[in-house]
């Protein structure tokens, strides 16, 4: 079955080559980073996590969002998602892979990565994150492959995967909750130390992930000739709408608490984001663009007439995705370090090698996703012919 990934046209191989080039550039940048250390990044003593960890956080959300198609399909028998489920699961597989790679490239001593397992510390959320991500990867890999294999054979998937499918639902919630706990348990960082972080993460994940899935499904329909069905797209659009609404609400709730209470530590991070602090305002334009995108996209989504037109839906989903990427993949992590515990504002900007490595990691995810989707398409093509 897996040899199916070798069957593809010029466009398919072109896309793989495109990913390949990006991976190569990223790989070279990483070998440089591996040789001389994380000094090649823009991170510093004060802002000790940057682009890598931020992308990790964002992509955990995308990975978790597979639950938004798995749950309605398996628990509520929402038939419209029949053809979307496998796309969601394979999106989860490649996203988790990307997450793990982002953690890996962020490590100062990557050769010691197994220390997390060799000397497990149950009080460290990092340990639990490691466990939950590996478990989730395994779950989705097994479920996805068995589903596609069964489809190819024209038989139902083996009965023993059923419990694993059910398990994957709470597991998806858990990966993003644990990732939120990674941050929200730190008394040193008031910007993160909020109980709403986990719900906020989940809401933004369930908006960003399905947005991406809509775009991917439409791409697959356009270029792969495989239609998941208008009803599925419409259902996904509804999910994005509600999740985004909840997310915006959560952000407002959080901002209110921090700003209205006026506790300097809590307020400063928000002031940095929206206005700048001590003359530093690198994230200000991003914040405003992100929030504007969020408001515009949400408004558009809330109007059914607009949302139900696929042209508009794609645009709005792009807007939602971009605004959430700015919120989580850019602002969230860095702002936690601003100002530092000693009240100093050190700004952070990723360097060229850092961006190259980041793109390389994404490209690797893109490659895996392309190959997995191609697998699905080839199997579908054959079963439709038969």
């Amino acid at each position: 079955m897996i040899q199916n990934v070798l069957h593809g046209g010029r466009r398919y191989w072109g896309l793989l080559a495109f990913w390949g080039v990006l991976i190569l550039i990223g790989g070279l940048a990483y070998s440089h980073q591996f040789a001389v250390g994380l000094q090649v990044t823009g991170m510093s003593r004060d802002v000790s996590w940057g682009l890598y960890i931020a992308q990790f956080t964002f992509m955990v959300g995308v990975a978790a969002s597979a639950v938004m198609v798995v749950l309605p399909y398996y628990l509520h028998d929402h038939k419209a998602f029949g053809k979307t489920v496998i796309l969601g699961e394979f999106l989860a597989v490649s996203s988790v892979l990307v997450c793990m790679l982002f953690i890996f490239v962020d490590m100062g001593q990557p050769r010691r990565v197994m220390n997390v397992v060799l000397h497990p510390q149950f009080h460290s959320l990092m340990f639990w994150d490691f466990m939950s991500l590996s478990g989730y990867l395994l779950l989705n890999l097994v479920i996805g492959f068995l589903a596609i294999e069964a489809e190819r054979k024209g038989t139902p998937p083996p009965r023993w995967v059923r419990p694993f499918i059910y398990l994957s639902i709470p597991w998806a919630v858990s990966i993003h909750t644990v990732t939120a706990f990674l941050y929200s348990g730190l008394s040193a960082r008031p910007f993160w130390m909020t109980a709403i972080l986990a719900p906020r993460f989940l809401a933004s994940a369930f908006a960003a992930g399905p947005s991406l899935l809509i775009v991917l499904a439409l791409l697959v329909r356009r270029f792969g000739g495989f239609d998941v069905g208008a009803r599925a797209i419409r259902s996904l659009g509804t999910i994005v709408t509600y999740a985004m609404a909840v997310n915006v609400f959560f952000v407002l709730v959080e901002s209110f608490t921090a700003i209205y209470s006026g506790i300097p530590h809590d307020e400063e991070a928000f002031r940095y984001l929206f206005m700048g602090l001590d003359g530093h305002a690198a994230l200000r334009p991003w914040t405003w663009v992100g929030d504007a995108l969020a408001v515009v996209s949400l408004t558009g989504l809330l109007i059914p007439k607009i949302r139900h037109q696929e042209r508009w839906l794609v645009l709005l989903c792009g807007g939602v995705f971009a605004s959430l990427w700015i919120e989580k993949g850019l602002a969230l992590v860095v702002t936690g370090f601003i100002p530092s515990p000693l009240g100093i504002v050190t700004e952070y900007a990723p360097t060229a090698p850092e961006i190259a490595i980041t793109l390389g990691v994404y490209a690797l995810g893109g490659l895996v996703l392309t190959a997995l989707y191609k697998l699905v398409l080839n199997v579908r093509e054959k079963t439709q012919l038969a």
Binding site: V36, G37, L38, Q39, T41, M43, S44, R45, D46, S48, W49, I103, D106, M107, G108, Q109, P110, R112, V113, N115, V116, L118, H119, P120, Q121, F122, H123, S124, L125, M126, F127, F130, L182, G185, L186, S187, A188, R189, G336, F337, S340, P341, L342, G343, I344, T346
Partner: protein, 305 residues
């Protein structure tokens, strides 16, 4: 009906049990929390299980440390003792003990009327060797841990994977990461050897003040404290001792004076205490510091490129 009722009751029971178990479980997840409770919950002698071991602590006499030469001697001694690299880029600096502004260190304890000179007065800072350290709670490999026998928060540079979670968790900014190989920035003698036998670090690990655990294990005292014995008039600028020993000098100071600690509301229980002068003007009147944090410039050897 009966079925759902039973299911509901079962769920209710499970939830209760879950909550009941959950709280102690969460507490158990926090290493060292037991010690805090024991300390808070009354005199140690009434609770035999909670007899505290040793807990090393440091008292920084802020007034005495206002002198530039005192702080320079401390930082210099530490740098030499531990082969601490002097990296020019402040973003990638490695600092074990350094001086920072009073207003930044005790940001919660100044007000709008605190004189500028007092805000800017230099104060020595280092790892607080907290009683309930958040860095240890988050470390995924146990590369940092609290020694049971004497409460030192240790670093195992052989095990650290460089995830820097501890740096995010430390509310005091006491931890430094080796963004690059530190060796070329370590001060060398004329033979190209580092000044001390203390291992230099490799790139990609986190480090911090260890209260000179290796010296303490051999019955010595921290290098900074020792160095101050050579500085005239610096007696008592740094006092090191066992805070659980009522006879120790540290305990005496803590019982006789009102001392401050950094960010007490976070509950980490720092073991570095600050003896602040009775009157703030004393601070304000002090000569303003020419020291901008790390590594004072002194007549030290060349730094290899």
């Amino acid at each position: 009906m009966n079925e759902t009722r039973r299911g509901f009751l079962k769920a209710l029971g499970l939830t209760t049990v879950g909550t009941g178990l959950g709280i102690p479980l969460l507490r158990a997840l926090r290493p060292g929390s037991g010690t805090v409770l024991a300390q808070v919950s009354g005199p140690a002698e009434t609770a035999p299980a909670a007899v505290p071991g040793r807990q090393w602590a440091m008292v920084v006499d802020v007034e005495k440390c206002l002198r530039d030469d005192v702080r320079a001697a401390v930082i210099e001694a530490c740098d030499r003792e531990h082969n601490i690299p002097r990296i020019p880029d402040p973003k990638q600096e490695v600092k074990w003990v350094w001086s920072d502004e009073y207003g930044d260190i005790f940001a919660d304890q100044i007000n709008a009327h605190t004189p500028a000179a007092a805000r800017e007065a230099p104060v020595l800072v280092m790892c607080n060797h907290c009683t309930d350290p958040p860095c240890i709670r988050v470390c995924p490999t146990g590369a940092t841990w609290k020694r049971e026998k004497d409460g030192i928060v240790m670093m195992d540079m052989h095990r650290c994977i460089g995830c820097r979670y501890c740096m995010a968790a430390c509310p005091f900014g006491s931890r430094s990461f080796n963004w690059r190989d530190p060796r070329p920035y370590v001060e060398h003698d004329e033979n190209g050897k580092p000044l001390s036998d203390f291992p230099t670090r490799m790139k990609g690990v986190v480090e911090k003040c260890t209260f000179c655990a290796e010296r303490i294990d051999e019955g010595g005292e921290p290098a900074c404290v020792e160095a101050l014995r050579q500085v005239p008039g610096a007696e008592g600028a740094l006092v090191f001792g066992d805070v659980n020993d009522p006879e120790s000098e540290v305990s005496r100071i803590l019982s006789e004076h009102l001392v401050m600690e950094r960010r007490p509301t976070l509950g980490t229980g720092p073991n570095v205490y600050y003896l602040v002068p009775d009157a703030l003007p004393a601070l304000a009147a002090a000569p303003s510091a020419g020291v901008d944090g790390n590594h004072p410039v002194s007549e030290r050897g060349e730094v290899a490129p």
